[in-house]
Subunit: 317 residues, 2 copies
């Protein structure tokens, strides 16, 4: 019998699940729309039956554990708590609900922490004991690994770098505060920076022809590739702000590497090169040259499932 | 035979050493002037003979380990590296030098990390797995404990919160950069804040009669106790800056408690009360009420020896 775990990535739009070997090989995969099941009981029933059906398509495999990545998940309590983009309100004891229906160990953690474990088991951090992954999407998530373990802290919510303050009194954040790293360093932060520069700068730019509600980080990166002055300036400023957050994180946990993941990380060297330069300027002398800054080695298509599966395998160690 | 370790606190002025039981009881203590021995060989010879002499005054004890706290100490390498306030230049393999003369396990770490271990073994953090100690003296040191272990990171230099940036482009720091937490949140930061307020404010103040080169944080705290408006404003601003550093640290490692230690921490509630209030305003909602902010439970007189001894006992676990 070939041992697999189920990796489940619960997102606001889709729930993606896969059967994953210890090597990171995805044996089979499936998905359904999360919002089709606004009742948690229905969701769990469909999730478990989907996994069981998937198992039946692959004879000779044995399920040994389940890992779940979800927004606002609390690893210590096995819960999803007050997730704004999910229909289930309050505190959902998701790990317990799933375990009641399949008798294997079930663990849950938030997306960025799952991504960190994925990077450690299957990605670019295989031999690293100290690293950080930043997920640069609509928000800015982070997973911090110290001494080979994900940092959860006293509450289970450690690693909220996206909501550390980089500009006191700065941009309004969805968390109700101002100047959070997320409002500058994420894909949506880049869009906000362009909007600001459209007011500050007088240069021509194709970005002026796009309604602000439709402007995306991808359009900005594409414009930068065509030397659009506002796009270039916005990327440089974003790189500087990401570097600022990284430099302070380096002072805190002195990681061997920072992995960047998600929409904005796809910008490539136009973002990575200035980030590296700014970080080297900003860190204390003793940290210069001690931290690699690189893209995640996990493909974004599989990252959710692989991260959740890595969580499960890591628990079984 | 009663087992003890030697705790050695190497400072720019004095080297203090003591024999310490596992309970934290200091059996005997001694000291000499660090600067009397500018040659490292002489220093080690005197240090070791001092410890042996001290042992002889207490029959029936057995030395099982040595812990050393020193500025710029690297735990991983057992070295003191480029310490600006010590006479020995370059990289000093202190742990190895001492071990050559006394055949017991020798560990070395920097002062603030030793203070963290001291707090964990003998102080207010006895049952805590996640906490941070900030040493608010001339500089601002920090020791971070996560999952019950001191955070060293990839380089051994993790936990440099004093040199994370709180005000980009702000006050010049001894590290060569600007706006470090240390330049606002330490005892010398408080003095700098008063100097700034003397220029900004027009209120009468006894602090105007003290040459700036002689102004101390103690004088400022005393003036605040007499309702001196500049001293009060300076303490409030310092509390806000310390709270800012704490709030960002909470987002990083979600500690159960922050311990404040050193000259400035002696200010008491005039500093602690506003720090607690500002932290509660500044942290993300999920962290509100999750972190205690309190004075170190270790007396400053013994802290150096106890921290170093705690390091030694912790290694023997």
């Amino acid at each position: 019998m070939k041992e697999v775990v189920a990796g489940i990535d619960i997102g606001g739009t889709n729930t993606v699940y896969g059967l994953v070997e210890k090597t990171g090989n995805i044996v089979a995969e499936g998905r359904f729309k999360t919002a089709d099941y606004p009742e948690i009981d229905d969701f769990v029933t469909v999730l478990v039956s989907s996994i069981k059906s998937l198992m039946e398509t692959k004879p000779g495999i044995k399920l040994v554990g389940i890992g779940i990545g979800a927004p606002n998940a609390n690893y210590h309590r096995g819960t999803i708590e007050l997730a704004p983009n999910l229909a289930w309100k309050g505190i959902v004891p998701m790990a317990e609900y799933v375990r009641k229906k399949i008798d294997v160990p079930v663990a849950i953690t938030n997306d960025a922490k799952a991504a960190a474990i994925g990077e450690m088991l299957f990605g670019g951090a295989k031999k690293m004991k100290n690293f950080i992954i930043l997920t640069l999407g609509t928000g800015l998530g982070s997973g911090i690994v110290v001494n080979g373990e994900v940092l959860y802290g006293h509450t289970g919510f450690a690693g909220e770098l996206g909501h550390t303050t980089v500009v006191p009194g700065g941009r309004d954040c969805g968390c109700g505060r101002q100047g959070c790293f997320e409002t500058y360093g994420s894909a949506s932060g880049l869009v906000r920076t362009v909007l600001n520069l459209l007011s500050e700068m007088r240069e021509e730019s194709t970005l002026r022809d796009i309604p602000s509600s439709q402007l995306t980080s991808r359009q900005i990166v594409e414009a930068a590739a065509k030397n659009d002055p506002i796009a270039l300036e916005a990327l440089d400023y974003t790189a500087e702000m990401i570097a600022f957050g990284i430099a302070n994180a380096v002072g805190f946990s002195s990681p061997e590497a920072i992995f960047l993941f998600g929409g904005l990380a796809k910008a490539g060297e136009v973002l990575f090169a200035p980030i590296r330069e700014y970080v080297n300027q900003m860190v204390m002398p003793i940290f210069k040259g001690t931290v690699k800054i690189m893209p995640s080695a996990i493909s974004e298509n599989n990252a959710g499932v692989l991260g959740a599966a890595a969580l499960a395998w890591n628990e079984l160690k």
